[in-house]
């Protein structure tokens, strides 16, 4: 089992849509996938038409003393989703405190899921360090848009996690320039593929679907498939 997390360099770069697209793409390649929504916004479920699940989720279950692993929804035989659940802001902070107090929670959960899945895909929120604390994660991907804010933030953060460019528009001079600079500076950190800006991604959510399901021939769906293929190759290299 391989854990992969997707976290934005800043908010609003499209991480949740990417998790949905990547989950769909990996499943289409025959992998057993569990997508886990760590974001209190609880939006990942909407990409899979789970309107009924608005209350239940792993965080809700923790507060209510229920089993977190019974909150997962089976979308396809090999594709499952564990929503966050509906919580008030205070309840989310209570979960944050619990996660900070016991940083091994997800490491234990990941271990218990290992036999059942090939991939755990985590949608990681901004500015909630407890929520972002995972166990071993082979591919902790940071998502950036090729804009000046992400450029400054990447310089300030000085990490070493792989960086994926999302919503890339090759017609933009600024984006082309930034990609040139990033390719030179970040070299191997920058993923070899990028996900192009594509209206199909926004339309897919409005249709309660992942982009691969809504528009399999769209540019973004093809990019997600490339990303999934890259993930399989990296897993082979790193394990």
């Amino acid at each position: 089992m391989t854990s992969l997390s997707i976290c934005g360099v800043r908010g609003g770069v499209g991480t949740t849509s990417l998790v949905a697209a990547l989950g769909h793409a990996l499943e289409s390649l025959g992998e057993r996938v569990l997508m886990i929504d760590l974001c209190p916004e609880n939006l990942l479920r909407l990409h899979f038409n789970l309107l009924d699940s608005q209350d239940s989720g792993w965080a809700r279950a923790m507060l209510d003393g229920q089993d977190w692993h019974k909150q997962a929804w089976s979308l396809k035989p090999f594709l499952q989703l564990l929503p966050y659940g509906r919580l008030s802001a205070e309840e989310t902070m209570s979960i944050e405190q619990q996660l900070l107090h016991d940083p091994q929670i997800w490491a234990r959960r990941q271990a218990s899921l290992a036999a059942h899945f090939d991939w755990l895909l985590f949608d990681v929120p901004q500015r909630l360090p407890g929520h972002a604390t995972l166990g071993p994660c082979l591919l902790p991907i940071q998502v950036a848009e090729a804009d000046a804010a992400c450029h400054v933030l990447l310089l300030q953060q000085a990490g070493n996690n792989p960086v994926l460019v999302n919503r890339f528009d090759p017609g933009s001079q600024l984006q082309r320039d930034l990609l040139l600079i990033w390719r030179k500076h970040y070299a191997a950190r920058l993923l070899p593929m990028k996900v192009h800006a594509d209206e199909a991604v926004r339309e897919a959510l409005a249709f309660k679907q992942s982009v691969g399901q809504y528009a399999p021939d769209s540019l973004a769906a093809q990019d997600a498939l490339s990303l999934a293929t890259w993930c399989l190759a990296r897993r082979r290299e790193l394990t």
């Binding site: 000046a148 310089l155 600024l174 040139l180 030179k184 191997a188």
Partner: protein
């Protein structure tokens, strides 16, 4: 499915992705001349232009080893013996 010979695959893993896509880097590796002094002037100029085009990127310029262009002056004509 077609695949590269095993020897070539092993070699490729030692090169970074940008090197694999870079003919000059490949040539250096093939010829075992890692110290060959070759400056891709057009690529560096393009990088320099990209940083200068946007004031914020100029303020937050990445100060890597080769991030600034080594070509402060026009390239000397005749350096390669073209002009006598």
């Amino acid at each position: 499915m077609a695949s590269l010979p095993a020897k070539s695959q092993v070699k490729n893993q030692t090169l970074s992705r940008s090197e694999r896509a870079d003919d000059i880097a490949r040539l250096k590796a093939e010829l075992h001349l890692p110290s060959l002094e070759y400056v891709d002037v057009s690529a560096l100029l393009e990088l320099s232009r990209a940083q200068k085009r946007w004031p914020l990127l100029a303020d937050f310029a990445i100060t890597g080893k080769q991030s600034s262009s080594p070509v402060a002056q026009p390239v000397r004509q005749g350096k390669f013996g073209a002009l006598k």
